[in-house]
Symmetry: C2
Subunit: 371 residues, 2 copies
């Protein structure tokens, strides 16, 4: 029945959307299909391709897909460890998102899709039957770039109908990510909805800026990185925080401001918090670091008076995976802070520079902020 | 300088994102590039492809792209008439979104990108320097489908800080679209921001539901379409409107409710408004129609008492393009209403079943609603 109705709609579909090369568009296919045993079937129609592969963060390397006579390539893999994973197809060498999957990874440069493998217990990032917060897509005037920039703000359940003020987490995503990535790939909203429902996290706002300061993507150890971090710091202080504090019911003091980020966003967070010691009592870096040179050139006060620094920072949290390509530098950074008697909380996990780890670190820190 | 920084960042980029097949990821490319003379250059890297084409709603049919020695395919077209257009690449027969363009067309089934060609006068859908409303991504409990469903709500500039109540437009997108399509491809927010700034539209909320009622995509003339419209009508009345009226500052009466939609959403809007004559004083259909059979079976009262119907409907607006594949049926529907003395406003334009026309019709009706 469903199939028949779908076929009836082919004409409407093909003309409302971008018209395909052929006029008789074939019926839609289902992809991905997650089976009960946690195996997953992926499918993509590519009748003219010579080679189609699957690339997923649940795989080591690309895996060849098999073509059927209608030109649909398919592959069933797994069972896969429960988690939310990015994946894409490689069609004759070109990486493409799954056409059948509306759940996309927001990014400036690549097009990737997301597949959620549920476990026997609902995952923390899942849309569970609990009160839901909202995501507000708004705009503010950028002071540093002199243009209108987007901003995504999570407001917790009850925000709209209440009148209390909340603490705020500023949460920054990584290189080539957008202001949407912590929502779509990070599921920051569902993680926080669930932790609030379990009384494990304090209800808070989460402000997700677009962290690309339009200065390229410098390596975190380069002098250009510190310059870009400085622009981000200026943007946060003179553009984003004033906008948030003027437009949302938030507690506008250091004890009620947290700053955290993944990858480039982690570097931006560490730099901005160290540079502005009066602003943030809660700081977290997910898979990031600063170099000794940057610390000594930019925050000599912080290093010279570790007791003051420790008194101001209610939490300095540093998480990284052992297989992360930044792990050696991140470990060196932690040792550097330890040698200078800066107090921090460290979490070393399995895994690499992935959004699975970014979500894990977010959840670990959400239960600590504002306690 | 920018180029050098980008190259420095290749390692970070390739590991944070889905890893490509090759380990030395080439530098990002810029696509699309809109030139001063309104020509546009599109580029995509596909070194192993045999044939790459461009498909855009500014073109008749696909146009072949040319490969350079590095495996990047490019094509410059135009000059193009100013507008916001969907486009995609066809790589060896497979339709793919532009990897370099973060501006995507939200859809269940295809992956497409958006390119904006500005004119000498800023377009109504452009992000102009005016006060901006916000888009709220929220959730509600679906009564008809018994699951949590997404909902996007535009709130006008000043909503967050004020206390007044606003009228509401319920705005439904088409087949295979999502609750995001009127925002991302329709630019309903910027169109309304600009019309409000020009005092041409009344400040209002716009509620954008996910119109797919999980019953396939029946042709609008089929009996299945009416069944699906009925489920949508139930969902709006028992799920969406109560959620909106409980959570937002809205005027909750017929005179302050409008209902409009494009394509399938237009059919859903006409059906729901005719079926519930006490609920909506303002109704618009963009490129849609109902059949005489559905009207006679489902709303005999409306036809039997045209004077009552006309008195209740402050606006019944019907727009369609002459090249729309639904034009003959839409024109017949208008004649059917005229013969039965149901009053309506008609707009017949150039163009087909496109989002360029959908935006045009939205703008035409936003200035009429709630006047």
């Amino acid at each position: 029945m469903k199939r028949r109705l779908l076929i009836l709609g082919i004409l409407a579909l093909s003309l409302a959307g971008p018209a395909p090369a052929q006029t008789n568009r074939p019926a839609p296919i289902d992809s991905p299909v997650v089976h009960q045993d946690r195996t997953v079937t992926f499918r993509v129609r590519a009748p003219l391709a010579r080679k189609v592969e699957l690339n997923g963060q649940f795989l080591k390397g690309n895996q060849a897909m098999l073509r059927d006579e209608s030109g649909v390539w398919a592959l069933t893999i797994g069972p896969v460890e429960p988690n939310l994973y990015p994946y894409h197809f490689v069609v004759d060498g070109t990486a493409v998102a799954d056409p059948s999957n509306p759940d996309q990874f927001p990014n400036e440069r690549f097009k990737s899709s997301l597949v959620d493998i549920p476990g026997t217990v609902p995952s923390l990032h899942a849309n569970q039957s609990v009160p839901h917060g909202e995501l507000v897509y708004g705009y503010y005037e950028s002071t540093t770039l002199r243009r209108t920039r987007p901003l995504v703000v999570y407001t917790p359940p009850g925000y709209r109908s209440g009148d209390r003020k909340y603490p705020v987490l500023y949460l920054v995503s990584g290189t080539t990510d957008t202001e949407e990535t912590w929502f779509r790939a990070g599921r920051a909203n569902f993680i926080l909805d669930n932790l609030i429902a379990q009384s494990k996290a304090v209800p808070m706002l989460v402000v997700m800026p677009y962290g690309n300061m339009m200065m390229g993507t410098p390596m975190p150890s380069s002098p250009q990185a510190a310059e870009m971090y400085q622009v981000f710091s200026d943007e946060l202080l003179t553009g984003i925080i004033p906008h948030v504090e003027a437009n949302y019911r938030v507690l506008a003091d250091r004890e009620h401001r947290a700053l955290a980020g993944f990858s480039r966003g982690g570097g931006q967070s560490l730099f901005t918090a160290f540079k502005n010691p009066g602003l943030f009592a809660w700081v977290a870096s997910y898979a990031a670091y600063l170099t000794p040179e940057v610390c000594e050139q930019r925050f000599p006060e912080m290093l010279a008076k570790p007791d003051d620094t420790n008194a101001r920072l209610r939490l300095l949290w540093l998480g990284v995976g052992r297989e992360d390509f930044l792990y050696p530098q991140a470990r060196d950074f932690n040792r550097y802070l330890r040698d200078r008697k800066i107090r921090y909380t460290e979490l070393i996990t399995d895994g690499g520079h992935t959004w699975m780890n970014a979500r894990h670190y977010l959840a670990e820190t959400l239960v600590l902020f504002f306690r």
